[in-house]
């Protein structure tokens, strides 16, 4: 996907001023937070599962080399054709190569965030292939020519009316407004494509080393059809998805679906272990898995490695006060919200996503809800440190912070400056005690708020005076 994270500020402002988006975000906001909280209560040992899940993910990451080889051995034994590639571009090339070899014309696709990273749809279309997204949200996004604004609810920024308009235009049918009817309409349109597609593409939530399977977690059934109906199936996934055993999967699933949608379990869990066997009723004749690095091992070797634990539940964005108000597009790449603020600079370069680690209040709501205990605010803070180290912060900010620290480390100078500041502020605040406009450097504050003025004297001077009075006064 093209990176537009540099425009974060501008796009975020536009999103704040977009009444339709604000309405859609407002509708979605409470729901996922409430349903998650309710479903977590079903678990009497949530914190223990969370701790154990984080450890399982860490174990998988630390032993990635061994586990991936084990996975490959079992996958190959089951008849899977495994491809190892380094970059996103190679993923696309490999998919196209497989498609050509099988004379594929039509492809159905279930959701893959990796596919968004590599811009897969665009590349497939450029190669003359007909590719259809089949996840309802992704289908909507594909029809409207947008990019997902959420990793599990890609069309969360669109309202029912937006979708009604879109379908009426694209499907050339009577405009429906009922959500069930709209879903039914999409299903009717998609059904023939499922039946005559030559190839299916999916991602993978996990690669299970113990069985050599790929595994996807879905709700709509499109994933099951995509992986079983066409004659060729290609799963694309990153190396970090490796997990040791089925037992581990079942544990993490207890948190994944609850954290994502508040469900105790998703409607479908699809494990694919090799192509169709002679006795199988369905399944692809050929099953390919393309495993890509695409920056993962670089992150693994860095101090951002905890971010690779991510199981893509989206809870961090659902609970982020910034995401809740601007939506996902402003983040400018595949992964929005707190996890995106770490993955995007890690995968596409710190200098290409300067705003992301800074555009957070560090409230740690994300860290608290993350099912695999990724210390998201700490990682954002580390990225801020890297920006300072690499001289990527604006000059004024750097000097300002150093001046502040310089003065605050010198109590006498600091005392003088704060006394002056408290007095000027008090005068400027007038009777109401409010500053309506701060000078450049602080003006961002007063675009939407007043600044309560200081009271005229500092605590330190008043305290010193009180102490002096006590010492000299009658006992």
């Amino acid at each position: 996907m093209q990176i537009t994270s540099r425009d974060f500020k501008r796009v975020a402002s536009r999103k704040l001023a977009d009444p339709k988006l604000q309405k859609a975000l407002g509708n979605a906001k409470g729901k996922l937070v409430v349903t998650r909280a309710r479903s977590i209560l079903e678990l009497d040992n949530y914190e223990e599962i969370r701790e154990a899940s984080a450890r399982v993910r860490d174990f998988g990451l630390q032993n990635m080399d061994v586990l991936l080889e084990e996975w490959e051995r079992r996958a190959v034994a089951a008849g899977t054709i495994v491809h190892w590639v380094e970059s996103g571009r190679e993923v696309n090339a490999k998919v196209i190569e497989i498609a050509r070899r099988h004379n594929v014309r039509k492809i159905i696709k279930s959701k893959s965030m990796l596919g968004e990273e590599t811009n897969l749809n665009h590349e497939l279309e450029a190669a003359g292939l007909d590719v259809r997204e089949t996840d309802l949200g992704e289908y909507i996004i594909q029809q409207s020519g947008e990019t997902p604004s959420h990793i599990i609810a890609p069309a969360v920024h669109k309202s029912r009316d937006d979708v009604a308009d879109l379908f009426a235009e694209k499907h050339q049918r009577r405009r429906l407004t009922d959500i069930a009817a709209l879903t039914h309409e999409a299903r009717e349109i998609l059904r023939p494509h499922f039946l005559d597609a030559d190839m299916g593409i999916s991602g993978a939530n996990f690669l299970v080393a113990e069985t050599g399977s790929t595994m996807i977690v879905t709700n709509e059934g499109n994933g099951r059809m995509t992986t079983t109906m066409p004659r060729v199936h290609v799963a694309i996934t990153g190396v970090e998805k490796i997990i040791p055993t089925l037992e581990d999967v079942s544990m993490i699933l207890r948190l994944l679906t609850r954290s994502a949608t508040g469900q105790s379990i998703s409607n479908y869990l699809s494990f694919t272990t090799g192509p169709k066997r002679p006795d199988d009723k369905d399944g692809p004749g050929e099953f390919h898995v393309i495993i890509v690095d695409a920056g993962r091992t670089k992150v693994l070797a860095s101090d951002m490695r905890e971010a690779l634990r991510c199981i893509r539940c989206g809870a961090c964005m659902n609970h982020c006060p910034v995401y809740q108000n601007i939506g996902g597009h402003a983040y400018g790449w595949v992964y929005p919200g707190p996890i995106g603020s770490i993955l995007t600079p890690s995968y596409v370069g710190l200098e290409n996503a300067i705003d992301l680690p800074n555009a957070a209040t560090l409230c740690n709501q994300c860290g608290v809800v993350c099912p695999v205990k990724i210390p998201l605010p700490d990682l954002m803070r580390k990225l801020r440190e890297k920006q300072v180290e690499r001289g990527l912060r604006p000059w004024g900010e750097r000097v300002g912070l150093r001046l502040w620290a310089w003065a605050a480390a010198r109590p006498r100078i600091y005392s003088l400056l704060t006394r002056i500041g408290a007095r000027i502020g008090r005068l400027a605040g007038g009777r109401a005690g409010l500053l309506h406009k701060l000078p450049p450097g602080g003006s961002g504050w007063t675009t939407g708020r007043d600044f309560p003025a200081p009271k005229g004297k500092t605590f330190r001077e008043l305290y010193a005076r009180e102490r002096a009075g006590k010492r000299s006064g009658p006992q």
Partner: protein
């Protein structure tokens, strides 16, 4: 019990009466309070802006100033959280300070947590009647576990009732320099907090962090809402702001 009071830079500069309120409360609880005269800032602005060197310079100063105190009490969730939760990491590459910093961190408390759980303050000096709603600051809540303590203390004031917001734990949008760098996002988040405050219908908003205080008060006033915004120490000590 020798308690060092770290008033914080924002209280020092913006709302000195909160420092005095904290002092009175600790004294009322029978603490022997020292207020190191050279104290300034905990280093949080530098730390959260990625400037470790600036943060370390100030953090070293805090450690030096409060090393001798049995406890360090701070009328702020975020500044106490900075010391308790982040100093050990901040001193990772300064071995000569690390042990001392960890010891100071372990002895640092947020004011209401200290009053309620450490010295078990029974009689609260403040005399206010009416209703308040309490905003849980993010650092206080998620770094220092401050949730029930301020409410328990406030409920010791006869005639004072607490009317909860729908989402008292939701961030107010302050976030330090975030409030200036991303002013419009920050104001929007603050706006939602103001709506929640208004819907709660209490006579005043009470909280325990200056950052949230300036942010929410600033947005309330811009909305022409004059709901008083008070620090929990002011209410508990009965040291309400005067102009």
């Amino acid at each position: 019990m020798k308690v060092g009071l770290f008033v914080t830079c924002l209280v020092d500069l913006m709302r000195p009466n909160i420092g005095f309120a904290a002092l009175r409360l600790l004294e009322a609880a029978g603490c022997d309070v020292v207020v190191p005269a050279t104290q300034t800032c905990c280093g949080q602005p530098g730390y959260n802006s990625g400037d470790r060197i600036a943060a370390q310079a100030l953090a070293r100063k805090v450690v030096d100033e409060f090393d001798a105190c049995e406890y360090i009490v701070v009328p702020s969730g975020s500044c106490s959280g900075m010391i308790r939760a982040h100093y050990p990491e901040l001193f990772a590459e300064l071995p000569e300070y690390r042990a001392r910093a960890e010891a100071v961190a372990a002895r640092t408390y947020e004011l209401t947590d200290f009053l309620q759980n450490m010295v078990r303050l029974e009689r609260v000096p403040g005399k206010v009647s009416g209703s308040v709603t309490y905003h849980d600051s993010c650092s206080g809540l998620r770094e220092m576990g401050v949730k029930s303590q301020p409410r328990a203390l406030l409920s010791k004031i006869p005639g004072l009732t607490i009317k909860e917001m729908q989402q008292p734990e939701q961030c107010c949008g302050f976030g330090g320099t975030f409030a200036v760098k991303y002013g419009d996002i920050s104001s929007r988040i603050a706006d939602l907090k103001c709506e929640d405050v208004q819907a709660a219908g209490a006579d005043a908003l009470v909280l325990g962090d200056l950052g949230c205080m300036l942010n929410i008060e600033g947005r309330l006033r811009r909305r022409n809402d004059n709901t008083p915004v008070l620090h929990v120490a002011e209410v508990l000590a009965g040291e309400l702001p005067q102009d």
